[in-house]
């Protein structure tokens, strides 16, 4: 653990507010990058971020300060995002979207798109698809683990991943068509 992070964590353990703010700032970008991928919008991402930090500050005494902090932080962020997914699951009616029949050429979309735009596309996915996509593609969970985390069948997890990818292709295609039209 870096000395700076360790110092901040020790301050947080004592309930020192300035240390809490510095730790928050230090890991804001990292935490927000995870939150944004799971959230439907920035406000929701901010909510996930702050919920996760509340858990971190509350449970810091359980954390072994000699161990790497970032993996623990990441786990809390992902778990908090999943909590939000469950919460939202009953609020949002997932609308089935037509899966595009034609596969677009993904090669051309791999460049010329910013991080914010990619996150914007991810956030257009229904929560069930987005969550499975994030857990599988970014976090590296297996479908069995995802099924257990989200309390769904393994088949549903696989199906949602497939649909998420199909939908992202369409969204990317649309994005580049509009972009092309704009720049023309």
């Amino acid at each position: 653990l870096e000395d700076f992070t360790k110092t901040l964590l020790e301050g947080c353990l004592r309930g020192h507010r300035e240390s809490q703010k510095l730790l928050y700032k230090e890991f804001y970008g990292y935490g927000m990058s995870i939150s944004l991928r799971y959230a439907s919008n920035r406000d929701e991402a901010s909510e996930i971020l702050n919920d996760a930090f509340m858990k971190i500050f509350s449970n810091l005494k359980k954390f072994d300060i000699t161990r790497p902090f970032k993996p623990w932080l990441r786990k809390i962020f992902v778990n908090t995002a999943i909590d939000h997914y469950h919460k939202k699951q009953r609020e949002i009616q997932v609308e089935d979207m037509d899966v595009a029949k034609n596969e677009s050429d993904t090669e051309k979309i791999l460049s010329g798109i910013s991080y914010q735009e990619v996150i914007g596309l991810l956030q257009k996915l229904p929560p069930a698809y987005r969550t499975v996509f994030n857990l599988y593609v970014i976090e590296g969970y297996t479908h069995e683990e995802i099924a257990n985390l989200l309390n769904v069948a393994v088949g549903t997890s696989k199906s949602n991943l497939f649909k998420a990818k199909e939908q992202l292709k369409i969204l990317l295609s649309d994005f580049f068509e509009k972009d092309y039209a704009r720049t023309r």
Binding site: Y28, M32, L36, N50, K87, I113, V118, V137
Partner: protein, 454 residues
């Protein structure tokens, strides 16, 4: 379905997500800071509650200690007692040389001092008289070689029927009487001395009893043996020791999950049967019905697997208010630390079995949680055997013959979780008790003069 990592779309999103371009927003921190402040305020309230509990416990302990201290003889009385004991010791040393006119003295005392005063001031005078007598005896030590010893005097057939009354017993006997004139206490009689002292002959006992009666004495018992406060001092009182008693108790019960939060107290009513195997040791068993109220962090509760996921959208409540009705079956061992006059100070330990009669929980979320269950309740009975350790300390005061009233602070420590949420529930409180003595310990109407010098 494509294999992991073979998909270019996956690679793209992985790559992009690894290069976050996010700037810090002060507004987000302000929102978090507000929540941290709110949590701190709640913790502060919890801390105050905890301090109140600690304060109440300290007051209860101080109250018990204070009552015990008040039950002790005053300094003046203690001083007189000490003086008299010293006198007694001296008396025992000279008793062989100075054949104190025991019977005569008794008679004289009976005639001249039929209203032997129980006050310490008179006791002091008597003590000085006894001391003078002893001094005179010491002066005549060398001259007294031909005189009869007190042993012989006390072994006159009309007074002593016990043939094996030895010299030491005689010493003790005289010591007692001298000390009796000085109106000292004999409250340090223990079982061993009593058992030795009961060798005193019935005739001697009668004599002492006669003296005691005259002196407005108290005839009580100790270790199943009647103790006669022959001095009529009024300072010593040995109430009958209970053999079997019933104890009614009521307590405001403070329960907590992890000493973080406290709520209003619940109540606890109990009925216990107490059996003294010895004067100091007793066993008790009975039933206590408790209504317990408690608050804990959602994380402190461990409901069945996937409960939160299936019932609260996967959100663990910020706090959970719980309450339950419990039938407790305690088995306790108690030790009487001190038994002075009308007051007793005792400590106890034991284990309780819990029968959970019903339980109810209310969930508190820090944010709206649509569709989530708001609580859980059950009337299903469950039993856990000896899963709670009890520690108590108590003070009891005899209010009427056969009735004792007291206060008994307690701490109940769980050794395993109880209830639906596998909760480790600590309880503290102070029971107000009323003891009814059904049966006293077996009487042995034998006079116990006093304990001799060790």
């Amino acid at each position: 379905m494509p294999e992991r990592g073979n998909d270019r779309l996956e690679s793209f999103f992985k790559k992009v997500s690894g290069r976050p371009d996010i700037s810090f927003e002060e507004e987000d921190w302000k929102k978090l800071e507000a929540r941290l402040d709110a949590k701190e305020a709640r913790s502060s309230v919890a801390k105050r509650s905890r301090n109140r509990i600690a304060g109440a416990s300290a007051i209860a302990v101080l109250l018990v200690g204070g009552l015990y201290w008040l039950s002790q003889p005053s300094l003046e009385q203690t001083s007189t007692g000490t003086e008299s004991k010293e006198t007694s010791a001296s008396a025992s040393n000279v008793v062989h040389d100075e054949p104190l006119p025991l019977a005569k003295d008794l008679g004289t005392e009976k005639e001249n001092n039929s209203t032997v005063n129980t006050r310490a001031s008179n006791a002091s005078v008597e003590s000085r008289t006894a001391a003078n007598r002893i001094n005179k005896a010491e002066k005549r030590r060398d001259e007294a070689s031909g005189q009869n010893s007190l042993v012989n005097a006390t072994q006159r057939p009309d007074e002593v029927n016990q043939p094996d009354l030895d010299q030491q017993s005689a010493e003790r006997f005289v010591e007692t009487l001298v000390a009796g004139f000085a109106a000292t206490q004999i409250n340090d009689i223990d079982g061993s001395s009593a058992s030795e002292d009961i060798k005193t002959s019935p005739a001697t006992a009668d004599k002492i009893k006669q003296k005691a009666d005259t002196a407005d004495s108290v005839v009580t018992e100790k270790n199943g043996v009647k103790v006669i406060d022959a001095y009529g001092s009024g300072l010593t009182e040995h109430p009958a020791s209970p053999r079997l008693s019933l104890l009614l108790s009521f307590a405001p019960d403070f329960s907590t999950v992890a000493f973080d939060y406290y709520t209003d107290p619940g109540q606890s009513f109990g009925l216990m049967v107490n059996y003294h195997v010895k004067r100091s040791w007793s066993f008790s068993a009975g039933m206590v019905k408790s209504f317990k109220k408690y608050i804990g962090d959602g994380d402190d509760y461990t409901p069945p697997n996937d409960y939160w996921r299936n019932n609260t959208n996967g959100i663990i409540p910020e706090t959970v208010n719980g309450s339950c009705n419990v039938l407790e079956i305690p088995i306790m061992v108690q030790y009487t630390v001190a038994d002075k006059g009308k007051n007793r100070f005792l400590v106890g330990a034991g284990a309780s079995s819990y029968i959970m009669l019903n339980q109810a929980y209310k969930y508190n979320f820090d944010q709206p949680n649509p569709g989530a269950k708001q609580g859980w309740s059950s009337h299903k009975t469950s039993t856990l055997f000896f899963n709670v350790i009890n520690v108590t300390a108590g003070f009891e005061h005899r209010i009427f013959p056969g009735f004792m009233m007291g206060i008994e602070p307690y701490l109940k420590i769980p050794i395993e979780g109880i209830g639906w949420s596998d909760l480790k529930l600590y309880s503290v409180g102070a029971s107000f008790t009323l003891r009814y003595i059904i049966l006293n310990q077996k009487n042995s109407a034998v006079a116990v003069p006093s304990r001799g010098p060790d």
